[in-house]
């Protein structure tokens, strides 16, 4: 077992060797520009790109023509939201999204707000799910887009996407979903899920960083976008710029592998995740799972150890790579807004740890991590004045704190 152990697969994933092998020739011998239409270097590159397009489309139940390559899901989110907002401005200026979206969506909608668009940020329930009735009520005749992520990057909760898509279809509103964490992990189908636009990225599915795609529906309805990158009209005028052929080949291969291995891999992920969860809950009291377990990514565990602060816990498990919703671990000293949206107090955010298991984690690693976390939490609880007060029977919510 190699240390340190990586269990932060929601942040990024190591590349699968098979993906790297597929990419390498396109850096060296087959280096052509896919837009060079007049020689074999270009034709080879173009062929590889089209093959990748098909691999990606197959994973999500789409047509090759509906895949637009970008630099990653952040760009895909920008393109989808701004692209629709600008293209359909005459139809309306209202967009609906959720409070737990990734910043790539939230910062984009904030920008649009400054330009005069109206944005509704739907709250989520304590289990992390959007309330469908609230969504229905929020839609107006000026609504042009709903953007709700497929699965959340912090708590792994999977939204009722097919139902959301159905509501949008009934009301004639376009539906975009940020599929970054879900694609490749759970079976996503843009037809069955009633999705019109979907963001995808390579580096969350054992592919390279710096490459992603946007699924743009062509039939019922045919979605149009105003390009955000101009210069040559690549990708059917939706995204200009020379294609990152090696990256695209990598993304395609990563998608192909996910399609082949998903059923078995998600079974194994669930097994490992549940083993970790069950051990932690069995040995530690005052420990809570954030978000519902019923509709959740198979590899995610977001868990709070009350009265123990997240950064100090990470320091104690220094040979394990995970992340925390604690303010102390963020660059801005803000606690996780996702956990806050669940209605959890800031103290729960400060005590939270996110485990993201992946293809290369083993059962031996899970056993080691469980043991390490249990011993560090116990040690930190001995240091914790809050744990001491609770054990003395003091109600912490009644205490007058001297916050500064």
């Amino acid at each position: 077992m190699k240390l340190p152990i990586y269990m932060d697969n929601h942040a990024t994933t190591p590349m699968d060797q098979r993906v790297l092998d597929a990419m390498l020739p396109f850096f060296t011998n087959e280096f052509g520009n896919a837009a060079s239409r007049n020689h074999a270097f270009g034709w080879t590159a173009e062929e590889a790109v089209e093959k990748a397009r098909k691999q990606i489309a197959d994973l999500i139940g789409a047509n090759s023509k509906e895949i637009v390559f970008t630099s990653g899901a952040t760009e895909s989110n920008n393109l989808a939201i701004k692209g629709v907002a600008e293209m359909y401005a005459e139809r309306g200026n209202h967009i609906i999204t959720a409070a737990t979206e990734h910043k790539a969506v939230l910062d984009t909608t904030k920008k649009l707000e400054k330009e005069g668009y109206r944005i509704t940020y739907l709250p989520v329930q304590q289990n992390g799910l959007v309330d469908l009735d609230m969504l229905r009520e929020a839609i107006t005749d000026k609504t042009i887009l709903v953007s709700i992520m497929y699965a959340n990057n912090e708590i792994g909760v999977i939204q009722p996407i097919a139902e959301i898509g159905k509501i949008c279809k009934e009301r004639g509103v376009l539906f975009h979903t940020d599929g970054t964490q879900a694609v490749g992990k759970v079976p996503v189908n843009v037809i069955a899920d009633n999705v019109d636009l979907m963001s995808i990225t390579g580096h969350k599915m054992y592919g390279p960083k710096g490459i992603g795609a946007l699924y743009v529906r062509r039939k019922s309805p045919r979605v149009q976008l105003t390009a955000q990158m101009d210069g040559g009209g690549h990708e059917r005028g939706m995204r200009s710029g020379t294609l990152n052929v090696p990256g695209i080949v990598g993304l395609g291969k990563a998608c192909e592998l996910c399609k082949q291995e998903m059923a078995e891999e998600s079974r194994r992920m669930s097994y490992l995740r549940d083993k970790l969860k069950d051990r932690l809950l069995a040995e530690l009291d005052e420990t809570f799972i954030n978000g519902t377990m019923e509709s959740r990514l198979p590899n995610n565990l977001n868990i709070s150890f009350a009265y123990v602060e997240g950064e100090s816990l990470l320091m104690g498990i220094n040979d394990v790579a995970v992340s925390s919703g604690s303010a102390c671990t963020s660059a801005t000293l803000e606690p996780s807004y996702v956990l806050k949206a669940l209605g959890a107090g800031d103290d729960i955010a400060h005590s939270s740890i996110r485990f993201g298991l992946g293809r290369f984690n083993t059962e031996e690693e899970v056993d080691y991590v469980a043991q390490k976390v249990i011993s560090v939490v116990k040690k930190l609880r001995e240091l914790s004045p809050l744990y001491e007060m609770v054990k003395e029977g003091i109600d912490l919510s009644k205490v007058q704190w001297t916050a500064h």
Partner: protein, 139 residues
């Protein structure tokens, strides 16, 4: 963000973890911070009533490694000082000793607050005591 060796040392081998008897007239207790902020420090001092010297100090902290180190260091520094000398401990001394980066300076401020709160609690207990001694004497 790498931690300084001293912070790691205090985290792995914290000094003076524990609790003193809150009810004792010789013990001053300071609790500062708030769970919502992610930082709560409890600092206690045991003071010799004759000499005014801090003979023992204990801490418990809910917070990041830097917060734990700051309060652990504080208990080390408090032992052997008089109550008034203790009030001269500045957060900047803690920052320098532990090489805290700018983003962790507030942890040292909280430790300084905890020291002052503990001393203040001890002093408050001393001002109510003479009156009680007089009453006891008369009884």
């Amino acid at each position: 963000m790498a931690y300084s060796d001293k912070v790691l040392d205090h985290y792995n081998h914290p000094r003076n973890v524990g609790s003193l008897d809150k009810a004792s007239p010789q013990v001053g207790t300071g609790i500062v911070g708030a769970p919502e902020c992610g930082d709560v420090m409890k600092l206690q001092v045991q003071v010799n009533e004759v000499t005014g010297v801090i003979e023992d100090a204990k801490f418990k902290t809910f917070g990041c490694g830097s917060a734990i180190a700051s309060s652990s260091l504080a208990t080390e520094w408090l032992k052997g000082k008089t109550v008034d000398e203790a009030l001269h401990i500045k957060n900047t001394d803690i920052v320098n000793e532990l090489s805290l980066p700018p983003v962790k300076i507030h942890c040292s401020v909280l430790a300084e607050d905890a020291i002052k709160a503990a001393i203040s609690d001890y002093k408050a207990k001393q001002t109510t005591r003479p009156a009680m001694a007089e009453v006891a004497g008369k009884a």
